[in-house]
Symmetry: C2
């Protein structure tokens, strides 16, 4: 039986993907980690492609695929400069990943994701929101773009007002948008996280 993937909003995205007639070719931007959701899409018959900035996380994700008898096809890459042709993918997504950059770079990455997506194809992207408990921590180098640390490694986290990313998709159709504030227990502490998720469609004539 398939693992249950912790990236729960991607089940909804898969449901939306399944309802289209687009070619089953999907790209994950930020595809690394110990439970790569591309494995879910591969199980449903998608040809998978993934890029990931950290080579170690690439290998962890590909090892997960190999253990399942899947070639997930994840390699080192940078979503600001995608090494894929224009309109080559039916689907492209980035889950819990794109906000680890400055907002100008997020915008650039979304333009790249749009570029490789076929007209009529679907994109999933989620963003951290200003409702997150870490928003405000660390120096703000821009507009809620905070210098923070994950496991002692310095990283940028960009936080958005829940409606703020709308304008990034003004050439696309927003099919689904969900503003979520969640509370859970993480390493013994109750934490509050804020995300806004988008499922958008690239217009057939652009």
């Amino acid at each position: 039986m398939l693992d249950i993937f912790k990236q729960v909003p991607l089940y909804r995205y898969l449901m939306y993907c399944q309802e289209t007639e687009m070619p089953r070719r999907i790209l994950d931007c930020g595809a690394g980690g110990d439970m790569p959701p591309l494995s879910l899409f591969e199980a449903y018959g998608y040809a998978t492609y993934g890029i990931e900035f950290d080579p170690a996380q690439c290998e962890i994700a590909n090892a997960y695929g190999r253990a399942k008898g899947q070639d997930l096809n994840i390699r080192q890459g940078d979503m600001r400069r995608l090494d894929f042709p224009d309109q080559s993918m039916g689907f492209v997504y980035s889950y819990n990943s794109i906000f680890h950059m400055r907002k100008a770079e997020v915008k650039q990455s979304l333009q790249e994701m749009d570029r490789v997506l076929m007209p009529g194809g679907l994109m999933f992207v989620n963003f951290l929101t200003t409702n997150d408990f870490r928003c405000g921590q660390g120096p703000d180098v821009g507009n809620h773009e905070h210098e923070q640390f994950d496991d002692d490694v310095p990283v940028i986290h960009s936080y958005y007002e829940p409606g703020e990313p709308d304008e990034l998709f003004r050439n696309m159709e927003i099919l689904y948008k969900e503003d979520r504030v969640l509370e859970r227990i993480y390493e013994g502490e109750r934490i509050r996280q804020g995300f806004v998720d988008y499922i958008v469609k690239k217009k057939a004539i652009s």
Copy 2:
């Protein structure tokens, strides 16, 4: 391959269930409809039980199960008076269902769900919130308890402030809570819905 279930938050609940050692016996309160999520739990090895107020919806759900070779074991029942012994279930949930009653009846139903749940077992329940686009429509017969119509049938919808249900779980441990405001296209119209989802644990010593 399994269908992707539109009741997406239940994937997270299943993930939490899988991480426990509780007996794999699960009850769905409001189990009817054309895509019964008990089918997902059955596929992962759970003994399933469901109750549903509307006999026609029972039959639709059981027919789905039969088509998949599953006996989902859904029958007519009333969650305000559950016909199951005390502490007989490892898991009990109610998805998009419990808020079709007055708030006093919701409370009564939750007490029944708590009664049939084993100590250490997990419950999932979600509520409509006052962020929903329909909150305020129709006569308010209580505290955001609105008389409305679904498909020309009169129904009550009870709407909660996002933190309001907390006190219903004061004898339980809240493991996960998610306040969600979503926008989607429904029958050609863009609608805004509000939900708050809870995953709670019955304390081992009560």
